[in-house]
């Protein structure tokens, strides 16, 4: 137990350092803008007085170190700044758009894992067969398809052609919850299918790695059924790389969601970021980057903790 607590503390310390660096990187990104960020945001029609006012509002007139201090302090108090164009706090803007992004990411990961685990396991078990070769080929092709392109094709076939799903939008707060989720089916399939490729390949490789191991052979020799050998003995030991790649996929899904939300007109965080970039709304870009990276760091931490649960050797 003491070892688990020690491992937990060590990883918490590592997470805190990475988070501090993430905050610093985000702070630097906005400051590398050539010229004055306030002038860039307001465009060529802005008067010097407007620019000065915005500089003051964003705290850009303070010395750099002070700006950094205020930035960190703000984050610790849950203040990510004020969106210039939406005229609302960045946290409010992000919270208002969190639902579609959260469910899109969740459904995509469920679809990706739902495809990848059984297909990857079966492919490894049936290694060298036509099924395996088809899986290897398809995963290679799927990893080469841009999710936004697959999304456009799905819209064409299943929304415009068959009319089974809405082509875009999400519905307002008055729209029933399940109808809102109905809007997410096509984007989640587009993202999930593309991202299942990587997880399938890792599952297959991890299973191939353990299927030849002595303990699997011993289990078979002891007369254990094939299903039990694969699911209990092999899969359990192959889980560490699989969990790692699922954790990594979350970051890829969020990146994919930025583009997919635009294709499907979903009012999520990705869409907010793209419109913020087009309007040079730096506080929003900064806030979104920070929140997404922090979530990723947190997921990595959870994955690390899962290792400890799955594989007792990690505790050592």
């Amino acid at each position: 137990m003491a070892r688990i607590a020690q491992a937990l503390l060590k990883r918490l310390g590592g997470m805190a350092i990475v988070l501090a660096l993430v905050v610093t990187v985000v702070f630097i990104i906005v400051r590398v803008t050539p010229g004055d960020p306030a002038a860039v945001m307001l465009g060529s029609d802005a008067t010097p007085a407007d620019i000065a006012q915005l500089r003051e509002k964003m705290g850009l007139d303070a010395p750099l170190l002070l700006q950094y201090g205020q930035f960190v302090l703000g984050i610790l108090q849950g203040d990510l700044g004020q969106s210039i164009f939406l005229n609302q706090p960045v946290t409010t803007a992000l919270a208002a758009r969190a639902e579609p992004t959260f469910f899109l990411t969740l459904f995509s990961i469920l679809i990706a894992v739902g495809i990848a685990l059984p297909v990857g396991i079966l492919s490894a078990v049936k290694r060298g067969t036509i099924f395996d070769q088809i899986v290897v080929t398809l995963t290679m092709v799927a990893a080469s398809v841009p999710s936004f392109w697959l999304g456009l094709i799905l819209i064409q076939v299943f929304a415009v052609g068959q009319g089974w799903f809405p082509a875009s939008g999400y519905g307002g707060p008055e729209t029933p919850f399940f109808e809102r989720l109905h809007h997410l089916v096509l984007p989640a399939v587009a993202l999930g299918v593309v991202n299942s490729a990587l997880i399938t390949r890792f599952t297959r490789a991890a299973m191939l790695d353990v299927l030849g191991d002595d303990y699997v052979r011993t289990a078979r020799a002891k007369g254990a059924g094939e299903g039990r050998v694969i699911l209990k003995h092999a899969l359990k030991n192959a889980m560490i790389p699989i969990i790692t790649v699922i954790g990594l996929s979350v970051a890829m899904l969020v990146a994919g969601a930025v583009v997919t939300e635009t294709v499907f007109g979903l009012p999520g965080v990705g869409n907010l970021v793209v419109s913020a970039v087009l309007r040079r709304d730096y506080p929003v870009i900064q806030g979104a980057l920070l929140v997404v990276a922090a979530i990723y760091v947190l997921i990595n931490f959870i994955v690390d903790m899962l290792y400890i649960l799955v594989d007792p050797r990690v505790r050592l």
Partner: protein, 287 residues
């Protein structure tokens, strides 16, 4: 040490392996076609990429316009070929920048123990940002142009290379001949240049191929979103973005630029996979 084995592998044996790996050969051929078409675009493309012909707008694929025409009557085939130039140029630039940054950071972290922890944590932090999101933020900060897109994606993918380089350097550092070189008092730069960098060539080449593929997909995404390269020349992403509006009546506007992306990225993935098997034959047995 597999990297050294691959470097010392005779050229003929390497070629035999290349031709023995059909998937890799297929990837190499497709990539060669894409590169040649892009290099020879003015001669290969039947029309100028921006040549308007309103009376021929939204024509389906035919013998005169292999991939059909767009809403301004421009030839999709010619535009797709010219778009390949931008895509290859951006991806190549990204590979160069990310490799240079990745090698510097990776070798520094792997060779000098005192630098390992700070650099590794920085890499962890950089890798916490989803690639497109970080690239979008950097492009927003630096302003959209060919150079900034290359720079933004180069910075975004550098940590991936740095991780691989660090790992390989850590292994190399412990090898007897490096220890001998240190003991002999050889200058550090000489050890790094002669013994470390040379042996890193294989893992770098493999990873660079995958970065090339990722950069191609990312560039297409940025262009599609309207935050990518702003030039008069078409890109596959901008072709898809403008073709979206007409996809009900003219699906070829979506199909061909999309296929161009898929085949180009697929060729790089196949090549990268094949190279990795070449460098580490143990992996070949698993695939």
């Amino acid at each position: 040490m597999n990297t050294m084995a691959s470097l010392s592998m005779p050229f003929a044996a390497g070629l035999r392996r290349l031709f023995g790996n059909r998937a890799m050969l297929f990837g190499a051929i497709i990539l060669a076609i894409v590169i040649l078409a892009a290099l020879l675009a003015p001669w290969v493309a039947p029309y100028a990429p921006n040549k308007l012909s309103i009376i021929n707008k939204l024509k389906p694929p035919s013998m005169t316009n292999f991939f059909g025409t767009d809403e301004f009557g421009r030839d999709i085939f010619s535009r797709a070929i010219f778009a390949g130039r931008i895509s290859l140029l951006v991806s190549l630039g990204v590979v160069v920048i990310s490799t240079v940054l990745g090698v510097i950071l990776g070798v520094a972290a792997g060779f000098f123990r005192s630098l390992d922890a700070p650099i590794s944590r920085l890499l962890d932090a950089m890798m916490s940002f989803p690639d497109i999101l970080l690239a979008i933020a950097l492009v927003a900060a630096l302003g959209p142009s060919l150079t900034t897109v290359i720079l933004a994606l180069g910075i975004t993918y550098a940590p991936r290379l740095a991780r691989i380089v660090r790992g390989s350097t850590l292994v190399l550092r412990e090898l007897p001949y490096i220890e001998a070189a240190v003991a002999m008092g050889l200058p550090t730069w000489q050890i790094l240049a002669r013994h470390v960098l040379l042996n890193l060539a294989s893992p770098i080449l493999v990873q660079a191929t995958f970065v090339f593929a990722s950069a191609m997909l990312a560039e297409a995404s940025l262009s599609f979103l309207g935050v990518g390269v702003s030039t008069d020349m078409p890109t596959w992403g901008t072709m898809l973005a403008s073709g979206r509006e007409y996809m009900n009546n003219a699906p070829w506007l979506m199909v061909f630029p999309g296929l161009a992306i898929v085949f180009s990225v697929l060729s790089l993935q196949l090549l990268g996979d094949g190279l990795r098997d070449l460098v580490d034959p143990r992996l070949a047995k698993e695939s």
